[in-house]
Amino acid sequence: MDKIRTIDEAASYIKDGMTVAVGGFIGAGTPEKLIDAVIEKGIKDLTLICNDTAFPDKGVGKWVVNRVVSKIIVSHIGTNPETGRQMNAGELKVELIPQGTLAERIRAAGAGLGGILTRTGIGTVVEEGKEKITVNGKEYLLELPLKADVALLKGSIVDKKGNIYYKKATRNFNPIMATAADLVMVEAEKIVEVGELDATDVMTPSIFVDVITQ
């Protein structure tokens, strides 16, 4: 099965109103070409799941500036002043989630779990409206799975089957998001032949990946 598409073809699979999970941590490990292509296509009204909104000129920060997104589900917006401005002006819906809870909610969706229990957020605004469950005398918050229509990943080395290796600190949310979307697209820094990426070094198995682009 040939999974390789151009950036333009890959971006055309994203439609207005979709929920899109994007890998990266303040821009490191983010598929910048796919981000730009979505802006060029004029796609609107996306719900973004990401760790943060990066900087105004980097990563998903560009989606905020170019008004590609109408809602964001993130742990941090402090590095992008435009996010806060749009939020305060009522132009952008922002749902803030503790970073570890965000990672586990996405993982739960990909792992077929009905939710996760965490102590994080107990006694804070994060617990509002959530079920509390006591296990062995300790109280936990029930946090529900978080799934996307599309996941956009950045891979350092990707073989033509779709196996992904992430360099250094670019891994972050990428391998977790790979499991929790209907359509998973990876922007490769380098595409190699099948077999060139040692099976031991694969961090996201090819079965999760639908589209490879560069």
């Binding site: 941590f25 941090h76 970073q99 965000l102 990672a103 965490t118 804070t124 994060v126 350092s156 891994r171």
Partner: protein
């Protein structure tokens, strides 16, 4: 009390560094806490944890030697020490929440006498998001707050926090430019004074009730 801004910072981060033990895995928050890394006592070998996905956070690279694939949790160019390890965000917070992180050092907007912490938002003014702070404070074995004792003269150590909380009852130690204060079941215990600082000055700059330790010392900084 110490007046000079730089001297205040130096006292705080030097004193925090003395809390770290050989072999500790430590997460240092953005801002002043990162400076703690410059004062690790001789013979103490610690590993720094970076929320974005590695242990073995190293010094900032020299200009021109930045690696775009290695940033710290603030998105700034960083480095990894020999023996470090990269991982994904799930593993990063497994380490934090699962009891594998020995110490976290964070700043605070407010701390109160029950060990509650507010450091992630000021409604209507500053809403950067909690990032990893709620997980760090809920999960680390020891939570150390490093901050200036007051904000432009107004106490930050209160009877009860008024800003939205980051976590409830998780703070263990408060280190400021005036004092070291332990959070104990019976309340806040003043154990050390900063150089040039009196008990009276600390009490006046603190809204919370303080228990004065029988072994009150001056910080060795």
């Amino acid at each position: 009390m110490i007046q000079d801004k730089d001297k205040k910072r130096e006292v705080i981060v030097k004193r925090v560094a003395q809390e770290l033990k050989d072999g500790d895995l430590v997460n240092l928050g953005i801002g002043m806490p990162t400076l703690v890394a410059n004062y690790i006592p001789e013979g103490i070998d610690i590993l720094l944890h970076s929320e974005n996905g590695f242990i073995g956070l190293g010094p900032n690279p020299e200009p021109g030697k930045e690696d775009p694939d290695i940033v710290n949790a603030g998105g700034m160019p960083s480095s990894v020490v020999p023996g470090g390890a990269f991982f994904d965000s799930s593993m990063s917070f497994t380490i934090i929440r699962g009891g594998h992180l020995d110490v976290t050092v964070l700043g605070a907007l407010q701390v109160d006498q029950e060990g509650n912490l507010a450091n992630w938002m000021i409604p209507g003014k500053m809403v950067p998001g909690m990032g990893g702070a709620m997980d760090l404070v809920a999960g680390a074995k020891k939570v150390i707050i490093s901050m200036e004792h007051t904000a432009k003269g107004a106490p930050k150590i209160l009877k009860k926090c008024t800003l939205p909380l980051t976590a409830v009852g998780e703070v263990d130690l408060i280190v400021t430019d005036m004092a070291v204060i332990e959070v104990t079941p019976s309340g806040l215990l003043l154990t050390e004074l900063a150089p040039e600082t009196t008990v009276e000055e600390v009490i006046n700059a603190t809204e919370a009730e303080l228990i004065i330790s029988e072994n009150l010392k001056v910080m060795n900084v």
